[in-house]
């Protein structure tokens, strides 16, 4: 079963335009906050109505502006996990799960089965305010599954949790998603969560969706500036293609060889902070970088470096390396840096 979305909705300040197809797997919807991720989910669930477009789940049309089809949320059979879980505060965990039960005659049976499979036996009689964030999420998921949805929408499910709890809940969710047999849309602004939980990912950039791609591709060779930034890359320079596959990095003030094929509308060049390594002297793709600042992180050292292009804004480079590697260099004032051709990410900016 696939969930295909092709919708547009106008707001005062921006325009949402999303087009994506999610198969039977977890598809991440990755974007900065305020880019329309949650709005997209709400349109799919039927809570919000797009101005125009089509939403199809399997062989059922949920929304089609041209044919005036707009199913109510009740008819759509799409499970929605809210950021704050939205458990009914006046009902116990078991009563909350029972609300999801579609079939009146089998409701008790369904509730018992879900309580057992979500390890909620001891919590069944408790009210939501008596449950921890992780427990609330388990109840909310059990409640959704009781309603037998054909697709799942998860809206930043970890944002209400402490980082300590998050890891455990993430593992639980991973097990659950493995058992679910329909499409799952997972909204987040965290690249880590996408990497852990999703098989494919769609980047949402200021309300507009980019092509769905496998998660590996996003991290190994992101094609656009926004995908590259969302995948956690911190070093970006404006770039110009030169003959012979070479690139001029305008902000870094140097010419570089790039191992990846250059796109037609090359606009930027990126390189990840932990791929930068100090080398002993000048050479191809090497630049001399004065050290600006050294910041000690928990397990690594972060070094801010100036480039021939300057010592401010995008001209700076951020290098992350193991603490002992940096200590071995002995507080240099400047270092030679190699930007290996295979590590350079050529980027376009399709919506500029």
């Amino acid at each position: 079963m696939t969930l295909s979305i092709d919708i547009r909705k106008r707001f005062e300040k921006f325009k949402l335009s999303v087009s994506l197809e999610a198969g039977v797997q977890v598809t991440g919807l990755l974007g900065a906050s305020g880019c329309g991720k949650s709005m997209t989910l709400k349109c799919v669930a039927g809570i919000e109505t797009p101005d125009e477009g089509r939403i199809v789940l399997g062989d059922r049309v949920l929304f089609d502006s041209a044919r005036h089809i707009n199913l109510s949320p009740q008819q759509r059979r799409v499970g929605y996990l809210f950021q704050s879980y939205a458990l009914f505060p006046n009902m116990t965990a078991a009563q909350n799960i029972a609300v999801g039960g579609r079939d009146r005659h089998r409701r008790n049976e369904t509730v018992e089965r879900l309580i057992a499979s979500f390890y909620l036996e001891d919590l069944a009689g408790k009210y939501p305010r008596q449950l921890s964030g992780g427990q609330q999420q388990r109840v909310a998921l059990a409640r959704i599954l009781a309603s037998e949805p054909e697709a799942l929408l998860l809206d930043e499910p970890f944002s209400a949790l402490d980082s300590y709890l998050k890891w455990q809940v993430e593992l639980e969710l991973m097990d659950l998603l493995a058992q679910f047999s329909g499409p799952v849309l997972f909204v987040t602004h965290s690249r880590d969560e996408v990497y852990h939980l999703c098989q494919s990912v769609c980047v949402l950039n200021k309300g507009r969706s980019e092509a769905v791609q496998p998660v590996q591709t996003l991290f190994e060779s992101p094609a656009t500036l926004s995908a590259c930034l969302l995948s956690g890359c911190k070093n970006i320079s404006r770039a110009q293609a030169l003959p012979g596959g070479r690139v001029r990095a305008l902000d870094w003030g140097t010419e570089l060889a790039c191992a990846h094929p250059l796109p037609d509308r090359l606009a930027y060049l990126g390189i990840r902070a932990h791929y930068l390594r100090p080398v002993d002297g000048p050479g191809e793709n090497r630049i001399l970088c004065p050290v600006l600042r050294v910041v000690e992180d928990v397990f690594s050292t972060v070094v801010m470096l100036a480039t021939p292009g300057g010592a401010a804004g995008y001209s700076r480079l951020r290098m992350e390396l193991p603490k002992e590697d940096w200590a071995a260099l002995g507080r240099p004032g400047a270092i030679w840096l190699e930007l290996r051709p295979g590590d350079l990410l050529p980027l376009t900016d399709p919506f500029s």
């Binding site: 949320p73 939205a86 609300v99 579609r102 964030g133």
Partner: protein, 229 residues
């Protein structure tokens, strides 16, 4: 002492509050889902009795229910009954005067209600009617109670509109407030003081219960992410 005014005031206030309770909730539910423009206009109309002098409300009611008014004529034709100058007329007056208090308090509670809970009910397949009765109303319980208590207190003390539509007939339409006025006019201070004390006791009880409700509301927050256990 003749307790009729207390009895009459209580039954008028109780019946009127029961009407206001349902009318206020229905109006609040209806208005809170309207588009912004119409909402503003309707909101003004429904709140008007709160700011109008009660005598103006009484004047309108007399024009409506009086023997020459449309409603008064209808009642005369159907049952040969006159409604003005009976205690039943006071009920209508009190409903209109207390309605905005209930309506506004409940609308505030509905609008502050977490919309995600409603959306959750919808995506789980439950009907909007079920959500209204089982999720929205229980979630707005404090607001409903506060509105009811306010409406009841206002209804019990209502004077202007009541005295215009029901007048003052001892043993038939006399309420606490019209009795106090009458006793003062007669210079019967001793009895007037007794009714003033009764009135003070009731008002005090109402204020205490409002405060208790508000305190309970403050203690009832739904924590997310941290545990009580």
């Amino acid at each position: 002492m003749d307790w009729y005014p207390l009895l009459n005031s209580l039954r008028i206030a109780l019946i009127a509050t029961a009407c206001t309770f349902f009318l206020g909730i229905l109006a609040a539910h209806w208005v809170s889902r309207l588009p912004r423009g119409i909402k503003g206009v309707l909101d003004c109309v429904l709140t008007l009795p709160l700011v109008l002098p009660p005598t103006v409300v009484g004047f309108f009611l007399l024009k409506l229910m009086g023997p020459n008014g449309p409603m008064g004529r209808l009642l005369l034709a159907l049952w040969n009954k006159k409604i003005t100058m009976t205690w039943h007329a006071s009920i209508l007056a009190v409903v209109i005067v207390t309605f905005p208090l209930m309506y506004r308090t409940v609308r505030g509670a509905f609008e502050a209600f977490d919309q995600n809970l409603i959306h959750a009910g919808q995506t789980l397949g439950r009907s909007n009617t079920w959500i209204f009765w089982r999720v929205l109303l229980p979630g707005c319980k404090q607001g409903l109670m506060a509105g009811t208590v306010l409406a009841f207190a206002r209804g019990l003390g209502e004077y202007g509109a009541t005295s215009m539509v029901s007048g003052y007939t001892p043993g038939r339409t006399a309420t606490i407030s019209t009795t106090v006025y009458q006793l003062w006019r007669e210079g019967n201070d001793a009895q007037a003081y007794q009714w003033v004390l009764v009135n003070l006791a009731i008002s005090f009880a109402v204020l205490v219960s409002i405060n208790l409700l508000e305190r309970r509301q403050k203690n009832r927050r739904w924590p997310v992410g941290d545990s009580e256990v």
